[in-house]
């Protein structure tokens, strides 16, 4: 009895202590930044838990790449406006035949263990990335490099297209003109040869280094990944420019909690969804930033089905849907209507905007002989509010022009099955990056890259577009190349290879103590120039 009483008293005391302890309020997250030394602590949101493999060889994983954007660097980098900028390379030249790319490395760069960074590190990294034996997830991106095909087939001991003529020069040669290749492989994070060079190529990807990458070249050094809690990074004192923030903690959590943490100062930078816009704008301690994404939400029409192979049907579908209204009502205006696979910067002024015109849609459908008794299925992976709402609106607006649409929710795996069987009618999905290089459009639009060889999931095929794309990709002069891309964009826009919906904006909330942060275009995109960010007390 006495023991029981004591237990109750003790329990109550613990509870009281716990509650009392809770009344001390959250701690301030930062210090002050005076003078040139790194100072302060920045807490950032990770929209997903990292896999914990910080490796350029691994399959793309948003949160891991975000961590890598603090600690690693590539020859080139992609700035928030999707322009390629020299990073570890000080400059680069493209030969007039668009087949040779010469990178002049920045002098005096050191790894975080003090070793000099040289072109041998670059050569080592590119050899690894192009070699399927290293389980490099993006080895396919390197097939355009001269000698890769022979090397992979075992006919050559090394890749002739990669060379390091001296310690500060790295050269890539391609088998045919391919300027777009830079956008695909120019920003690969470089790994240290002196750490990984002796590991057999088949074992490199599994090397513990990638879970604990302590020797890096970027503005921050890796300290630890406390599983599921945070990734801790600290300023690299030997970085080529002063790093203003001392410590960065990247914390995975749900978006609701992240929004709450923005309000109470627990997080300094976080992305948020358009539905939380009003809440976030109500916080007095944060400002918001927005930027258009590099990919877009689209509805693919399966063109192996005869009724979608007629361009008039695809155009009619675009005219039938009020995409601006979807942007305004579903995304609260935080997206842009898309009218091409190509990013806005690469599309000419005169492209067809397919503005909402149900009458025109009806007449195009009639002209194409559309069977108004036919029902087509629209498949998508449910769970994202904007996509769920979009499918319903598309169903009702296509219904208004006489096209019967059945909505069908699928799991990701089932969707892959329906691609394999070519069984789907319409599928809504998003993603991709077509802003860094227009050449990436080739992956989703070229005849040769129909699924599963490539990412052309709709089996669209327009030899004229392929020709225009290849021609643009072989021009070394930037102005002429841009004009050629615009020609390709015009053709693609007229052919309506996809039902482009919208390009969502990345929305970011930033504590007013933080300066220098430039929002990326989506919650999963890498960060740019973190050395220049600062946080005040």
């Amino acid at each position: 009895m006495r023991k029981f009483k004591q237990g109750v008293v003790l329990g109550s005391a613990v509870l009281a202590t716990v509650l009392a302890a809770g009344c001390t309020g959250p701690k301030s997250s930062s210090g002050s930044n005076s003078g040139g030394a790194s100072a302060g602590r920045l807490n950032m949101y990770l929209y997903q838990e990292p896999a914990g493999v910080f490796s350029p060889l691994a399959a793309a994983s948003g949160p891991d790449m975000q961590v890598m954007s603090f600690i690693d660097e590539g020859l080139l980098g992609v700035d928030p406006d999707y322009k390629m900028q020299p990073v570890l390379a000080q400059s680069y030249d493209i030969s007039s035949d668009a087949k040779t790319f010469t990178f002049h490395l920045r002098p005096g760069v050191k790894w975080s263990d003090g070793q000099a960074f040289t072109s041998q590190d670059v050569l080592f990294t590119y050899d690894l990335m192009a070699n399927p034996k290293s389980t490099s997830a993006t080895a396919g991106n390197f097939t355009a490099v001269e000698g890769v095909t022979d090397f992979v087939a075992g006919k050559a001991d090394s890749i002739s297209g990669f060379s390091a003529p001296d310690a500060s020069t790295f050269v890539i040669k391609t088998s045919k003109p391919d300027v777009g290749l830079l956008g695909q492989i120019g920003a690969v994070n470089i790994v240290p040869k002196h750490v990984l060079g002796s590991v057999p190529v088949e074992q490199v990807a599994k090397d513990p280094y990638f879970q604990h990458p302590t020797v890096t070249v970027g503005p921050f050094k890796f300290v630890e990944y406390k599983t599921s809690q945070y990734v801790h990074l600290t300023a690299n004192p030997d970085y080529r420019t002063p790093v203003k923030i001392k410590d960065i903690y990247l914390k995975p959590m749900t978006s609701d909690v992240a929004t709450a943490q923005l309000g109470n100062g627990g997080l300094d930078i976080a992305s948020f969804s358009p539905t939380d816009l009003k809440t976030v704008q109500g916080f007095s301690n944060v400002t918001t930033q927005e930027r258009l994404g590099a990919g877009f939400i689209r509805i693919g029409l399966n063109q192996t089905k005869p009724y979608f192979s007629d361009v008039r049907v695809r155009q009619a579908f675009l005219y039938a849907v009020d995409r601006q209204k979807i942007v305004d009502s579903v995304l609260f205006g935080k997206a842009a209507v898309r009218n091409s696979d190509f990013a806005k910067a690469d599309t000419p002024a005169g492209i067809n905007e397919y503005a909402y015109d149900p009458e025109k849609a009806k007449s195009l459908l009639k002209a194409a002989g559309w069977d108004f008794n036919r029902t087509v299925a629209l498949e998508w992976i449910p769970g994202q509010r904007d996509r769920d709402a979009t499918t319903t609106i598309v169903q009702s607006q296509l219904g208004a022009v006489g096209v019967k649409v059945k909505l069908q929710q699928l799991q990701a795996s089932d969707l892959i099955g329906s691609y394999k069987k070519k069984s789907y009618d319409m599928v809504l999905f998003g993603g991709g990056n077509y802003a860094v290089t227009p050449w990436n459009v080739n992956t989703i639009a070229s005849c040769a890259l129909a699924y599963p060889t490539g990412g052309n999931l709709t089996y669209f095929c327009d030899p004229k577009l392929d020709q225009l794309m290849a021609a643009a990709n072989s021009i070394s002069d930037e102005t002429q190349r841009e004009a050629a891309w615009q020609q390709a964009a015009l053709e693609e826009n007229a052919q309506a290879d996809l039902m482009w919906m919208y390009d969502p904006m990345g929305l970011w909330a930033v504590n007013k103590k933080v300066s220098g942060f430039q929002a990326p275009g989506s919650q999963d995109a890498p960060y740019w120039a973190p050395a220049t960010w600062s946080i005040s007390g």
Partner: protein
Amino acid sequence: MGSYIVRRMLINVVVFLLITVAVFALVHKAPGDPIAMLIPPSELNSGSAQFIAHKRHELGLDQSLVTQYWHWFTNALQGNLGYSLINGRPVTSLLGERVGPTLELMGVGLVLSLLIAFSLGIIAALRRNTAVDYGATVISLGSVSVPVFFVALVGIYLFSLKFQLLPSAGISDPSAPGLIDSVRHLVLPALILGFGNSGPYMRYIRSSMITELDSDYARTAEAKGASRVRVVIRHSLRNSLIPVLTIIAASLPQLLAGAVVIEQVFAWPGMGQLAISSVQSHDYSVMIGFALVIAALVLLSNLLADVLYTVVDPRVRLR
């Protein structure tokens, strides 16, 4: 009782083995291909097929299910539950580093739920059919019927955002670790987990207490001059514990289920969070490892419930 426990353990081992077969088959036959999902379909290129085939071979996913199971089983007997398909780390160490936080959350959550349930249950039984009793009933009904994630979000809104008293996520503040910091992070998730589980306990305690308070021995004790407190605590509460203890033991798996949700909402680095992320990424080995931990917990808590019953009530004999 010793032979009873040994017999039950042996039966549990057989059941556990059958569970491993079922879990392995279900997880592998569930829709979804973790390797195909590594590259989004719209970003495939001419080298992707080779990467996928290579990866599948490396992980043994191109072998028959029986071969895969046998391989997994023989390794599991040696304490190796395989490796995560996503980051290559051993499943045992992934689970190992998550067990502590989950037990901490569950343990404190259980203590808090008992504190809530016993206080409300005893008061409701003593003040039967009064406003206090009805109030306690409403609270217990609320705890059962309002989803725990909703209570958690309300809790975060009030205590983290509105009044800024407690942190809303994580297990500790990496820059200021310490006991007070850990306690502050634990309060909200544990309290909400405890509240969510207290409803059924409270109802059992209330009805069990009413039965005992109305029994002849309680009246006799009171007639012989024992104080009200003595009758309630010493006589009635002790006897009313018999059914309650078994219910608590049997409901441990439910507590873990609640912890899974709480961990997700509060970014608590426990097993529940690991389970959810592994399901999302189709990380077979981690999913199987987690399912087996749950299976073991259910089997053990059932056994514990039976054994506890004999301990608190010597009239019950197990055979």
